[in-house]
């Protein structure tokens, strides 16, 4: 622990609080408009002051748009990509950390370079690949690219963690007659939950919120995830800002809930990885 003088600490707190408040303004506006009754066109003070709270906007959204169906689409796509990223990422990371692989460092370097590519540059090639694989306008058309895009980060995080696991644990298991795959499964994997939870959270958030690739890949409204919903209904809700903002509010709920549920693991995981190297 670094000791910081009380005055510095208080200044820092004040600064961060101010920053957080500014950050919150759009969110508050969104909530204000969403909770203002639809017939009231103008809210006070740029939308920050709510005079009358009402849930009717949400009623309109649920009546006109199959929000839950889109949520289901999002969950299918997101959870599948999380599952594959954890599965393949952990296996690859373990191989990188513990096994003899030909050209290991070159492979790893290539993986890291993929992190440097901005995602928008990949949209066109991914679209082409999806097309030639015949998976345009299917869940797979998103699940596979999300998995591929998520793997490098996952492998880097998990490799660091596996390398920091005490080697003697695995050696003890080897002497106990346990095979390499089972050492991975029964020793290394259960012990790396802090790193795994970081990967799960990160992959969940990025897949759940992804927009551009979903937009170009999916045509059928019935397959579209939650992140595309504002776009689908922008025409319909054009004259109803209340309904539009209610939709936006609804979209953020799953991510926020998920984040708060996993936050404990996230912070634990990040610091554990850091301390162990």
């Amino acid at each position: 622990m670094i000791r910081v003088p009380a005055i510095t600490r208080r200044l820092a707190t004040a600064f961060l609080t101010a920053l957080a408040l500014v950050w919150m303004v759009p969110v508050l506006m969104m909530l204000a408009v969403a909770f203002t009754p639809p017939e009231k066109r103008v809210t006070g003070f740029g939308g920050l002051v709510v005079e009358e709270v009402s849930l009717r906007n949400f009623g309109i959204v649920f009546a006109d748009a199959p929000i839950l169906h889109h949520l289901l689409n999002s969950l299918v796509i997101t959870l599948s990509s999380v599952f594959f990223v954890v599965l393949f990422g952990a296996m690859a990371a373990y191989a990188f950390a513990r096994m003899r692989v030909r050209g290991k460092n070159i492979w790893f370097f290539l993986l890291i370079t993929t992190l440097m590519l901005p995602v928008p540059t990949l949209i066109v090639p991914l679209f082409q690949i999806n097309k030639s694989l015949g998976i345009l306008d299917t869940y797979l058309g998103l699940i596979l690219p999300y998995t591929a895009l998520g793997l490098p980060f996952a492998i880097i995080i998990l490799r660091g963690f596996f390398e920091a696991l005490p080697r003697e644990l695995e050696e003890a298991a080897r002497l106990d007659g346990v095979s390499q795959p089972r050492i991975f499964w029964f020793i290394a994997l259960p012990l790396s939950w802090p790193a795994l939870s970081v990967v799960v959270i990160f992959q969940f958030m990025t897949s759940f919120n992804e927009f551009v690739l979903a937009l170009v890949t999916l045509d059928s409204d019935s397959l579209k995830p939650l992140s595309l919903v504002p776009l689908i209904y922008s025409g319909q809700f054009f004259t109803q800002p209340g309904a539009m903002f209610a939709t936006l509010t609804l979209i953020t709920v799953p991510v926020v809930v998920f984040y708060f549920a996993m936050q404990r693991f996230m912070i634990g995981g990040l610091t554990t990885g850091a301390v162990k190297g």
């Binding site: 005490p166 003697e168 644990l169 050696e171 003890a172 298991a173 080897r174 002497l175 106990d176 007659g177 346990v178 095979s179 089972r182 029964f186 020793i187 259960p190 012990l191």
Partner: protein, 361 residues
């Protein structure tokens, strides 16, 4: 259970030779201790026996079978690590039974093997705890139990007690000795604590820079070290080394000059020594006799401080040439008043080493 044999075994890490042509036979049921200074290759040799390090050249047999290139799982060896290496996410019961479960034994079979071991090591009450909820000594016992459950042919320990406090160490040492007496499994034990080595071992193997310096029973090594290194390593407090110069030789005797211009006669060794050669006379603290008055052939020591432990006292000081000396003294504490003590050496109690540290007599 089985004995094991190492034949000209070497280990290279790149261009570094960590173990150099080691040959050793361990009898069935024997308790062998590897000792030596840090970095001498004790762990490496142990890990080569376990199969965790590849053997660069040479052969290893266990129970008469060549296992030089055999997978660790098939050597029927159990090892207790310095860090215990307990599986942190499993309970004590889970740790003890892990190997058996992995071998697809039934619940009943696992319990039938785990329970007696747990009872023997007094772990019954702790079976549902995780390793993090155990004391150091309890973790140590779980690690031993985990090894025992598999009824191995050979038991390996790498400095198993070095993480424990002094009192617990003594207690665990006694428990280990009793355990070995009871089950009689061939055991190889690494330590750099020479007291552990002396008390536990049937035979001690002293390693130095990847080679075996000497092998023998604890008392063999104590009474008859073949090198100054072994003489210095075995025995506590450490043996005293006195630098000396040969001044004359005759048919029976060697005349030495000791620090403080003292002439000292010593039986002549086989090796030919010329006047002017340097040798080292080594004598254990308990074999020195001290007096406040100079006697013929006694060497003067300047006393720096005394340690009185009750039954025995130790005097720490230096010879005229600055070499450190330790004297063990019983009875008559009154000599602790003197600044200078005169030490007499019984030639038959002293070892003579040449300049390279090889034993001369």
């Amino acid at each position: 259970m089985a004995g094991l044999a190492l034949t000209n075994v070497s280990k290279d890490y790149g261009s570094v030779r960590a173990i150099d042509e080691v040959s050793l036979e361990v009898r069935d049921g024997e308790f062998v201790v590897f000792v030596g200074p840090s970095g001498c290759g004790k762990s490496t040799l142990l890990r080569m026996i376990a199969g965790l390090e590849e053997i660069t050249s040479g052969a290893l047999t266990i129970g008469g079978q060549d296992v030089t290139r055999t997978d660790p799982a098939e050597r029927h060896i159990a090892m207790v690590f310095q860090s215990y290496a307990l599986y942190p996410h499993m309970t004590v019961r889970g740790n003890l039974g892990f190997a058996l479960r992995m071998a697809r034994q039934s619940k009943a079979e696992v319990a039938a093997k785990v329970d007696p071991v747990a009872a023997m090591l007094q772990l019954d009450a702790l079976m549902d705890r995780k390793p993090s909820q155990l004391s150091g000594g309890q973790r140590q016992r779980v690690a031993i139990g985990r090894a025992l459950v598999r009824s191995p042919q050979v038991f390996l320990f790498d400095e198993p007690l070095s993480n424990l406090d002094a009192e617990l160490r003594v207690q665990m040492r006694v428990e280990l000795a009793q355990l070995h007496k009871k089950i009689g499994i061939t055991t190889i034990y690494v330590t750099h604590d020479q007291v552990e080595a002396m008390t536990l071992a049937d035979r001690i193997v002293v390693l130095r820079d990847g080679i075996i310096e000497q092998v023998g029973t604890p008392l063999d090594l104590y009474d008859d070290p073949t090198s100054l290194f072994v003489a210095g390593f075995i025995g506590s407090p450490r043996i005293n080394e006195i630098r000396a110069t040969v001044t004359a030789t005759n048919a029976e005797q060697l005349l030495l000059q000791l620090p403080g211009e003292v002439a000292f006669a010593y039986p002549r060794p086989e090796k030919d020594l010329k006047p002017g050669d340097t040798v080292t006379l080594a004598i254990r603290p308990e074999h020195l006799t001290a007096s406040d008055k100079a006697t013929p052939n006694s060497i003067p020591m300047d006393v720096e401080y005394w340690e009185h432990l009750g039954g025995v006292s130790y005097a720490y000081g230096a010879l005229k040439n600055g070499q450190r000396m330790i004297l063990e003294h019983r009875l008559n504490r009154s000599i602790s008043e003197y600044q200078t003590l005169h030490l007499s050496i019984e030639p038959s109690r002293a070892f003579l080493f040449d300049a390279a540290g090889r034993r001369l007599t």
